[in-house]
């Protein structure tokens, strides 16, 4: 077991180093002088230019520069944003909870709808319901979510006036950040109506972000259930005269969920991609919007730090999923 853990964990190291290389070279691949790029359009005087060159170590050989970069990284120093002058890591930390909150709600939505839909579709195979679920799932999978978001705004915010168009909470509320998750923080605060406001801001973005994972989960659950339902032990369970809910709920679902859980773990990358678009549409103050604005301002340290941190998060989640998978499935653990 320990061997499996260590082997799997050690595979992460080269990938992480690779991501540091991507982040390191990003700012050097941008055409032009990196200091001038960082200084932005206002330009910079020669003395300060030389000073900054020395400070960032641009006068040293490339390999030494990479060494310096890694050393700073080890100390948690990812540089400062050009536009706000704040440390990149601090900005990331303050915005990340908003993205996580959105992502968790999106996955919950996808699970709550996708699992039952997939299970029912498998149980009523080739019925109208099954074809409907599969058709909708393929549509969801093909959905340009940036358009889906605009459509939902058009319907629910503009036509019906049920939900706000953008942001995380109405401006009249000031919520002291405790956990960073507004749904929890508003409950902790005494402000009445704050929770409802936060929730109504969250619903549409969560649905938009959850659409692609929902489609994937419904499809995956259906095919995993179909596979399990054909196994011998299912026939045995039926022959024993167990009630249908027990057969489906305990015997089938538990085994069918293994591949589904893996797929959910793999959706993390997809969620970040979606978050970039969803946050842009709904002006959701998270990592995705932060990165897109950084591009607009040519704020390269933010971009550089953002890639590295997001890459690290995705890698960590993938590793956890793999380890969890190894724990529940001995065949994986003992492979090789």
């Amino acid at each position: 077991m320990l061997r499996f853990l260590l082997t799997r964990a050690s595979l992460v190291i080269p990938t992480f180093l690779g991501i540091t290389l991507v982040a390191f070279f990003l700012i050097r691949l941008v055409p032009g002088d990196p200091i001038e790029t960082m200084a932005g359009e206002r330009g910079i005087d020669p003395a300060r230019h030389a000073e900054l060159r020395a400070e960032y170590g641009f006068d040293k050989p490339l390999l030494a520069q990479y060494g310096i970069y890694l050393e700073r990284l080890a100390h948690g120093d990812l540089g400062r944003s050009i536009s706000t002058k704040e440390p990149v890591i601090a900005e990331f930390a303050s915005l990340f909870p908003a993205t996580i909150e959105l992502g968790i709600c999106a996955i919950l939505f996808a699970l709550l709808v996708g699992l039952p839909a997939g299970i029912l579709a498998a149980l009523r195979r080739n019925s109208v319901f099954d074809h409907g679920v599969m058709g909708l799932s393929l549509t969801g999978y093909s959905m340009p979510i940036f358009w889906w978001g605009l459509l939902l705004i058009l319907l629910f915010s503009v036509q019906l006036g049920w939900t706000p168009v953008s942001g995380r909470i109405d401006v009249q509320y000031f919520i002291e950040p405790v956990t960073g998750f507004l749904l929890i923080d508003t409950l902790l605060s005494d402000e009445s109506g704050a929770f409802a406001s936060a929730l109504s801001h969250l619903v549409l973005p969560a649905v938009v972000l959850g659409t692609v994972p929902l489609a994937v989960i419904a499809r995956m659950t259906r095919s995993a259930m179909l596979e399990v339902l054909g196994e011998d032990y299912m026939r045995t369970a039926r022959a024993k005269g167990l009630p249908a809910w027990r057969i489906v709920g305990l015997h089938a679902l538990r085994n069918a969920l293994i591949p589904v859980v893996t797929v959910i773990g793999l959706q993390v990358g997809v969620l970040f991609t979606g978050a970039i678009l969803t946050e842009t549409i709904f002006s959701w103050p998270g990592i995705g919007k932060w990165l897109i604005e950084a591009i607009g301002r040519r704020d390269y340290p933010v971009l550089q730090g953002g890639i590295l941190l997001i890459g690290a998060v995705v890698m960590a989640v993938n590793l956890l999923v793999d380890l969890a998978y190894g724990l529940v499935n001995p065949r994986i653990r003992h492979a090789r």
Binding site: P14, V22, L151
Partner: protein, 303 residues
Amino acid sequence: MSAELLDTPAASAAPAGPPHPLAEFWTSFRANRGAVIGLALIVAVFLMAVFADVIAPHPPNLTNDAAFLKPPFWQAGGSLTYPLGTDAIGRDILSRLIHGARLSLSIGVAVVAVSILVGTMLGLVAGFVGGATGIVIMRVMDIILTLPSLLLAIVIVAILGPGLMNAMLAVAVVVLPHYVRIARAAVIAEKSKDYVTAARVSGAGPLRLMLSEVLPNCAAPLIVQASLGVSTAILDAAALGFLGLGAQPPSPEWGTMLADAREFVLRAWWVVTFPGLIILVTVLAFNLVGDGLRDALDPKLKR
């Protein structure tokens, strides 16, 4: 390719011998109603792109000062001159969508062509040569796969600068690992088989082994991935266009059109609705065909 396929069912009627593989493929593909619908939609979008100059009622970038944000013809104030209405500077939305088909299809095909070519070569090399070269190739692919696809594409565009060509290049890089992995896995599965050994013993060089012995036998999964890849490419390029990093205005690229339309979401639903709808339909069509191809080409996955 479709014309060739359409002709084959007649041949399959011949009683003697097993059916031609293409005929068998077509029978299997035709049984999947979704895939046939998808194929029909793709043909429609393709024809739209080819004959854009003839079909489109107006030039895509012609503005009309007298017709800003005109609604589609069935709404009060709309007219058949502009069947799907006009945008904020009086351009005909239908004409722009028709011309946009050229861009989106070229994007899809070009991205897949580049990534399948480069990806297959890298995969063949990684599978055949193995060793340090193989490890380096696969590690780089792992890194690309770890970073969220749109984020990586954004970074590449940030380095190269926004524009359609750079966006296409970025998307091609992002989807590359899928082809490399498929090709490598297929090579590893095939290369120990007897026919490859036979070819090697009879003096075939590594290039010949790779390209004319193993490659044709890896084709099925690559074709399926290519069809699904076109939809990913169109979707990702549109997303970059929507973020202002892909094709630049006034290009009638569908994602770019949506970006322009965003600020009018409150007062002109049609400028937002139609470009997205056509992206959805096109992407869905390629996904339907991809699913159909997989079922038809991969007997193991047959229902």
